[in-house]
């Protein structure tokens, strides 16, 4: 076994929530370890901000909100928290042992408290042709900008959601050419939407920013709204994207790069595999770990903060990281006196627009379950919708039993790509609610781990700082 180091608090993920928690906890002299799987801190939102900051004039297209992250990252560097980067956490036990691999070796650490801040992942958009080379997620398109300071010229963007508009806006400002924007949001606003919009006015800035992006996009791209039946075709790679426009006309656009997006969902693989309780959030159409206002999960001493506990955006993520760190400090050093009302209010204010946005960009079923039988659902095992429908019709009660019948969800992505789609398909077939169907039973390792890395735990070794 590797050296068994002990920390007051171990934080998984150095995004906004994780860094904010590390800063706060270090202020209170807690011994903090941060494990992050990327080579540089920042998470998805502030990816590569240290490197890009030197170039901020040229990279102004990344937007003001991005540069705001620099202060948080600097505070993080000035804190006493230890960082182990390129460290992939693949198992957390109930006894709060953390196992991770780094540079070909596996290690373990022990912590009194654990904060899981592993963020969100993009909801897959399983439409015909989504697995062809040349098709990427919009998040991937944005990663190109942040990590490589380059993008793809001549792409089609299809989907909807805040990140969708932001990324297109960034591409346009960066001077990249966009063939067309195909907006899948059902545009009609109901009374329900307007009612939801009232509290959202607390985050007026955010709403206005969104409207500004959208109007800029409408003016500067070929823009199609309220589209249906989007599909991608091509023999060996993406060649074109077809859809039906709002007037019922079939359209076909030629492009070898297509970026898809249907919003983001919490990345629950670690929280589920750790055995935390989760609940189905019908508004965001995904699972959330059960937490109280401080981010405490159903497992004593394990906290969840940031988008991993429910999509609420970067401001709320930072706040939730801080709140969790304060609570942990109270537990470890002095009795809790923190005002629950204050933190509830702050949390509310930082996520006030969320219900409105969730409803506005709620992906309709066509984008969550393929409308076409031949579309791949489980990428790892190359299973089409028809294969999965057939297995479900044999009397499968839930996603776990489905594994035995057709191996769906048993590949290396561990259901990240197909889990929500399969859950919906089983719910539909049995006429039940998604929450009653449940999700894959997730088990470690939840991140890539080689046999050699695991074998290294039979010997003594020390992680690289």
């Amino acid at each position: 076994m590797s050296l068994n180091q002990h920390y007051d608090l171990a934080i998984i993920g150095a995004g906004p929530a994780g860094m904010a928690a590390a800063v706060e906890a270090s202020k209170n002299n807690l011994k903090v370890l941060v494990l992050d799987d990327q080579p540089a801190v920042g998470g998805q939102v502030y990816r590569q901000i240290d490197k890009n900051y030197h170039n901020s004039d040229e990279l102004s297209y990344l937007g003001e909100d991005y540069w705001l992250g620099k202060k948080l990252v600097d505070n993080f560097w000035h804190s006493s928290a230890e960082l182990l980067s390129e460290s992939r956490v693949w198992q957390i036990t109930r006894d709060k042992l953390i196992f991770f691999s780094q540079k070909g070796l596996a290690h373990q650490v022990q912590a009194d408290f654990i904060l899981i801040s592993t963020g969100a992942m993009e909801r897959p958009m399983p439409i015909p042709g989504w697995t062809l080379p040349g098709v990427m997620s919009v998040g991937g398109a944005q990663t190109l900008l942040k990590s490589n300071n380059s993008g793809v010229d001549g792409a089609v963007f299809a989907g909807s959601g805040p990140l969708f508009y932001l990324t297109i806006w960034q591409y346009l400002i960066a001077g990249l050419k966009i063939v067309a924007v195909v907006d899948t949001a059902p545009a009609r606003l109901s009374l329900h939407h307007y009612l939801r919009a009232i509290p959202a006015l607390l985050q007026l800035n955010l709403l206005l920013k969104g409207l500004r992006w959208k109007s800029y996009i409408r003016k500067n791209t070929k823009y199609f709204s309220q589209v249906r039946k989007v599909s991608i075709s091509g023999q060996f790679a993406a060649e074109s994207l077809s859809f039906i426009d709002r007037y019922g006309e079939s359209k076909k656009l030629f492009a070898s790069h297509i970026f898809l997006h249907q919003g983001v969902v919490p990345n629950v693989n670690l929280t589920m595999a750790t055995g935390l309780k989760h609940y189905w959030c019908p508004r965001q159409l995904c699972w959330h770990p059960e937490t109280n206002i401080y981010g405490e999960s159903s497992l004593k001493g394990v906290f969840v903060a940031g988008d991993g506990s429910g999509i609420a955006g970067v401001g709320a993520a930072i706040l939730s990281g801080k709140t969790a760190a304060k609570r942990i400090f109270q537990y470890s050093r002095r009795p809790p006196i923190f005002s629950i009302f204050l933190s509830k209010f702050k949390r509310y204010r930082h996520a006030a627009a969320r219900p409105f946005l969730d409803n506005l960009f709620r992906p309709p079923k066509d984008w969550r379950v393929p409308f076409d039988d031949e579309t791949i659902v489980c990428r790892c095992e190359a299973l089409k919708k028809a294969d999965i429908s057939l297995a479900i019709s044999l009397g499968v009660a839930g996603p776990n039993q489905l594994k035995s019948f057709c191996r769906a969800g048993m590949g290396r992505c561990q259901g990240r790509m197909c889990g929500l789609t399969i859950q919906q398909m089983i719910a539909d077939h049995n006429n039940l609610l998604e929450k009653d169907i449940g999700y894959f039973r997730l088990r470690p390792p939840i991140r890539p781990l080689t046999v050699g890395e695991l074998a290294s735990m039979a010997d003594e070794n020390v992680p690289a700082k």
Partner: protein
């Protein structure tokens, strides 16, 4: 609630229960199998699928050989499902001199007992058959014709052919009480009341609980969860199932190219809540051995780790035979090596229930052997 009357009721839808149901139904018996979860949901459906005679306790070899007769003609029994059994060869190599001594001694014991299926081979033989091996060995034990199967499919196969022969299979049907009357049993379950002349307890890790409900022997059965991992797809280099003498490792490569690495390293199990843990680092020594045998495996990515809840006996031998109570039969406690035995156990239990003499002696597996 309606009362369902049966001649024979089997409790437990693992391989033992399903094979027993099959042999009974095939012989025209009125048989019902009840399972508290789903067919093949626990150890029978999620084990490593090793079909081996190699390395068996000498007391267990006759049963294992009898089972192998059925495996070798599996198509005649379960039809299409039999294609999920892949015979090859099973090799347990010695990686040091100590291992060689243990292995040679084993080979000698077997030959003295008159068994010829498991033999000692030297390194040159091993290297010739496994050209991708990354290390010289100190020889090893070999069984031709042993192999591996997709366990869930085999269990499903026995369940389905049992049904074809008229057996009833009822899932999600947990037993809550078992009461013996003059000459029949009354069984209260989540799906109503059953009556049966004979009850067969194949409830795996839960079997001691069933015995307790029936006021039978107290069995020192313990539950653990043996762990397994499967890797991503890799070029084919291993045409055999492998183990290492005196180590817990079982290693095979599936047709997809994925490696399955296990060998019985146990993790915690909580049978009452159907929960089993996996603690990957416990497998580190097995991983080290696997990568030593084939350095290529070190680069493979662990895709999944899982475990199934299994019942273990203190002497690692199963319980097979009549219970203390009349009309109660047991077949459980296989201690993580019961999958290959399954068809043989099914046949033997069917014999017992029908009052016939099984073709092999079950003396070593007597249910009352732990009664003082």
């Amino acid at each position: 609630m309606s009362l369902q009357s049966n001649k024979i009721l089997i409790i437990g839808g693992g391989i033992q229960g399903c094979a027993t149901a099959y042999f009974l139904a095939k012989r025209g018996q009125n048989v019902t199998l009840i399972e508290k979860d789903r067919i093949g949901r626990h150890a029978s459906g999620v084990n490593a699928g090793g079909v081996r005679r190699l390395g068996r306790d000498v007391l267990e070899i006759p049963l294992s050989l009898a089972a192998m007769d059925i495996w070798q003609n599996l198509y005649q029994e379960i039809g299409e499902y039999a294609k999920d059994f892949h015979p090859c060869f099973y090799l347990k190599v010695a990686v040091d001199e100590a291992g060689r001594e243990i292995g040679l001694m084993r080979a000698e014991d077997l030959s003295r007992a008159g068994f010829t299926h498991e033999v000692w081979v030297e390194d040159d033989h091993i290297q010739a058959r496994l050209p991708h091996l990354s290390t010289p060995t100190h020889g090893g034990l070999l069984v031709e014709g042993d192999g591996w199967a997709t366990p869930w499919r085999i269990v499903q196969g026995f369940a389905n052919v049992a049904k074809k022969h008229g057996a009833k299979i009822i899932e999600d049907c947990r037993v809550t009480s078992l009461t013996k009357f003059q000459d029949f049993w009354q069984i209260q379950t989540a799906k109503g009341l059953f009556e049966a002349e004979s009850v067969v307890n194949c409830a795996g890790a839960w079997a001691a609980g069933i015995a307790r409900l029936a006021d039978d022997h107290i069995f020192p059965l313990e539950a653990y969860a043996p762990m397994l991992v499967v890797t991503d797809k890799r070029p084919k280099i291993l045409p055999a199932v492998m183990g290492v003498v005196a180590h817990t490792l079982s290693l095979k490569q599936l047709e997809t190219g994925q490696f399955v690495i296990g060998g019985g390293v146990r993790s915690k199990a909580s049978p009452s809540i159907n929960q089993s843990d996996v603690l990957l680092p416990k497998l580190s020594s097995s991983m080290k051995l696997a990568s030593k045998l084939f350095s290529e495996i070190g680069n493979a990515q662990v895709v999944r780790c899982w475990s199934g809840i299994e019942g273990y006996m203190p002497d690692n031998l199963p319980i097979i035979g009549r219970g203390r109570q009349n009309g109660l039969f047991h077949g459980f406690g296989f201690s993580a090596h019961g999958f290959q035995l399954g068809p043989g156990v099914g046949e033997a239990l069917a014999d017992l229930v029908m009052g016939q003499q099984p073709r092999i002696s079950l003396e070593a597996f007597r249910p009352d052997r732990f009664v003082n």
